[in-house]
Structures are given as C-alpha cells and as structure tokens.
C-alpha cells in the first residue's frame, strides 16, 4: 500500500468502517510510515474535538412542547374528517363539479405518454395556488417584469410569452416546486379561468409533442420544446387549452425547429 492509497482509506479507518483486509493493510502501512501516522493522529484529534466539544446543538425546551402540540393537532384532525376548512370546502365544490362533468359525459381522456407523478404534482400545484391564495409571487401583466423576476429565484430563464392578443392575458408569476425541483409557474387568465403554466428545463432536452389529458375536471396539456418542459392546467375546455398551448409554442419554439403538433389518441 502506498501513501496515496493510505490517505484515501484513512477516514474509513478512523471511523472503523473499513473491511478487515483493508484495515489490516493500513495498520501495517501506518507502522512503517510516519507521515501517514501523523495524518491519522490529526484526524483522530479532529474527530475527538468534534465529538467532545459543545458543537451539538440542543433544542430549546419549548420546542418539544410545540412539536407535541403540532402532532396533537394533526392527530385530532385525523379523527375529524368531517370538519371542513374553507380550502377543503372549495375542493369539495370543485369535485362535485367534476362529478357533474363526468355524469354529463364531459370527460375526455386522450391517452398519452404522460408521467403520472408529474401530473399529480402539477394538479396539486394548481389546486394549491388557488386554495391558499398564493397565485402569484410577482403580480404583473408585463412580461418584462415577470421574466426578470425569475432571475435569482430559479436557475433557468423561463420564456414568458405575451398572449394578450390571443385572449390570454398574463396575470403574473410564481415559484413552485414540482417533480423534485423548483419550477416557474406563469399565471394567465381567460375570463374567470385561471391557467397555470409550469415551466422547467427538460431532463432529456428532446422535444416532445403536446399531449392532452383531462383529469378530475382539469384539462392539462404537456409538451417539451427548446429544452423546456411545459405543463398547462386549467378548467378551460380542451379546445381552448389547445389554443393556449399553441399560442405559447408560437412564442417559444425556435423558428428552425419543426413545430410540435398534437398527438391524438382519443
């Protein structure tokens, strides 16, 4: 064993995490090498200092009480599923609406290669944005205000198309968290319908044509172009959502790229 190898194994040795063979080999090396022995002693000194010094942060006594109270509240909420908050009530109303839609044969489902996890996240993000009164972080109809706001809030620059001419005025933008990462949420409106357009860099970067899906009364359209993944969600009807998606694509697809067109399977 040479010194480089020994240095690489030193921490595992100090932590007693090496297998028997490596451990024995390192012991032999240390007996013959003063420099590595010194490094070993230093690491042991550091470890002892870390363990014995008052670096461990103990919680204030009040925290235990607070956490217990939080858990107790959560536990009580569990036993009272009938008790409603305004947020819950609005969901019930929305779902009653879904039942109506389904009952009247209004359910359109187009099968598509959609990631179910992301879809659930997108729906949760949309519902949450309307439930907790946190629709926008930056409230502006001006794309030149909304776009720069995202700098410093996300590590990419989402395109913020102006779709006023197509009948989808911009309301603002918001930071959201989907698919295990922060994403940009752009908020548009059509009459009283709120459209959340979630944008984040596509993992693979390959362009993907749009897929539409209806779930729980929400119409969702998803596509990937120019390295960005887009998810649009709203209670608008499917043709209007398609029009919205096309509007966004016209502003965001590079002119040279072939235009993504809908894939209809339903």
């Amino acid at each position: 064993m040479d010194c480089d190898e020994a240095q690489g194994l030193l921490h595992g040795y100090v932590d007693d995490e090496l297998d028997v063979v490596s451990s024995r080999a390192l012991t032999q090396h240390l007996q013959a090498c003063p420099a590595c022995t010194q490094a070993y002693e230093n690491q042991r000194a550091l470890r002892t200092a870390l363990r014995t010094s008052a670096l461990y942060c103990t919680p204030p006594p009040s925290l235990l009480k607070q956490v217990r109270a939080t858990v107790r509240r959560a536990s009580r909420a569990d036993t009272r599923p009938m008790r409603w908050t305004w947020g819950g009530l609005s969901v019930a109303v929305a779902m009653a609406f879904v039942v109506l839609l389904v009952g009247s044969g209004g359910l359109i489902h187009r099968r598509s290669p959609i990631d179910e996890h992301v879809l659930q996240d997108v729906m949760a993000g949309h519902v949450r944005s309307l439930m907790v009164n946190h629709l926008t972080d930056v409230l502006s109809a001006d794309q030149h205000t909304v776009k720069p706001w995202f700098e410093g809030h996300v590590d990419f620059a989402p395109p913020v198309p102006d779709l006023t001419a197509q009948g989808f005025p911009l309301i603002g933008g918001r930071l959201d968290y989907l698919d295990d990462r922060p994403v940009a949420a752009l908020v548009y409106k059509r009459q009283q319908h709120v459209i959340n357009l979630f944008v984040w860099p596509a993992p693979s970067g390959a362009a993907r044509p749009e897929s539409a899906v209806t779930r729980h009364g929400y119409n969702l359209v998803q596509w990937t172009s120019a390295g960005m993944t887009y998810w649009a969600i709203s209670t608008l009807n499917a043709p209007e959502m398609e029009a919205f998606a096309h509007g966004v694509q016209q502003h965001t697809t590079p002119p040279s790229a072939p235009k993504s067109r809908g894939r209809d399977a339903g």
């Binding site: 240095q7 420099a35 670096l55 956490v67 959560a74 590590d155």
Partner: protein, 226 residues
C-alpha cells in the same frame, strides 16, 4: 357526498406532498399512507386508532427531537429557522408514519428532516445549495502532508464551529451526521441517497478542509502572539 368528504382531502394532500421515489432510496420518498387510513370513516375506531398512532409516534419518533434539531440547526445555520423546519418535519413524519414499519427510527426521521431542510433552503437560500467546494484550496492541503500534530482544546471550539459553518451544505451534513450524530456510513448513504463511496469521499474532503481551516487560524494566532 360522504365518499367525497372522506376521501378527497387525503388524496389531495397526498399529491401535494408526494415526491417521486428514487431508486435505492429507502425512506426518502414516502408514498403517503395516513395513520388513520385503515379505519375507514370517522367514529370511535378512528379516535382509538389516532391515539394508538400518536402513542407509537411519541415512543419511536419523539425521542429523536435533539437529533432532528441538531441536523436542522447545522443545515439552516439559524436557531429559529431550525425550529420551524423541525416542526414541519415532525408534521410530515406524523403524516408519513403509516409508512414506517420498524427499523432505525432516527435515520427515518432524519431523512425527512433533511428533505424538509433542503426544501426550505431551496425556497429561502437557494444560493447555498449551489455553493461549490473549492478544489484548489483542497489540493494545497493534500500536498502539504500534515507537518505537525493537531492539538485541539476547548478554546478552539469556536474555530471548529466557524470551520463547519463555512463548509458547503453537502459536505457539512456528512460531518454532522457522522461526527456529531455518530451515524454509520450506511445510514448516512440511506439518508442522503448517495452511494457509500461518495459519503466516504465527502467526509474525507470535509474533514481535510476543517483541519486546514483550524491549522491556518492557529498559525495566524501564534504569529500574532509572537
């Protein structure tokens, strides 16, 4: 209507907290099953079940409050923020508790605490997550093979604290988990969703940096003393 009332908030909350399961991760992405789920609609059964769940939670998870706070305090580097994160993490832990089927409850809780910390950091101090380890500085130390034995005593506690706080969060967390919390490499790998080899190499780099920080400051102080 009853069906809607009972099922909906649960399924929606599930979506809101759902994170995709990553391969190799044991506890990181709990697929939510609420503690009350098995008992069906509200009533006496629910009440009893909630009490038993809470008693089990109190017994298994509550004793790790200090570990949870210590990790949160070192990751957020702020007392009040750490308290907020711990509250949130415990709430999540309670909701996900149906998913905990025994095993190391401390590692299970710390996975949730760490996840909550990272979410908090992303929302409040995203720049800290992108801070990189300065490799050039690191190389200097490796070349300079420990000229003398490090002597640390109580007076240098403050120095160690500063050194730890100066580490990028991905390196700080492994030192906290190993040296302050005493977790095994395997547990740390499970909590951080990293291979054991990466845990070991991060520990090595982090500790070398700590040692360098302390040595440099001790030398400066010694010179000032002369």
């Amino acid at each position: 209507m009853v069906g809607i009332k009972v099922c909906l908030p649960q399924s929606l909350s599930q979506r809101m907290v759902h994170r995709r399961r990553r391969p190799g991760r044991v506890w990181g992405a709990p697929c939510v099953r609420y503690p009350q789920q098995s008992t069906g609609s509200g009533g006496k059964g629910d009440l009893v079940h909630a009490h038993t769940t809470r008693a089990r939670f109190e017994q298994c998870i509550m004793p790790h409050l200090a570990a949870a706070y210590n990790l949160a305090r070192w990751l957020t580097r702020h007392e009040q923020d750490a308290e907020d994160v711990v509250q949130e993490a415990y709430l999540r832990a309670y909701k996900f508790f149906g998913n905990f089927h025994g095993g190391d409850s401390r590692a299970w809780l710390l996975t949730i605490v760490r996840h909550t910390c990272y979410t908090w950091l992303r929302q409040n101090r995203a720049h800290e997550l992108t801070a990189e380890f300065d490799e050039t500085l690191h190389d200097v130390v490796r070349a300079d093979v420990n000229p003398e034995t490090l002597l640390l005593h109580d007076a240098q506690q403050q120095l160690l604290r500063q050194a730890l706080e100066a580490l990028p969060v991905a390196f700080r967390e492994v030192v906290i988990m190993r040296d302050l919390e005493g977790l095994s490499y395997k547990d740390i790998a499970s909590i951080t969703d990293l291979p054991v080899g990466t845990v070991m190499s991060r520990l090595a780099r982090a500790r070398t940096r700590l040692q360098q920080y302390v040595t440099t400051h001790l030398h400066t102080e010694a010179k000032r003393g002369l």
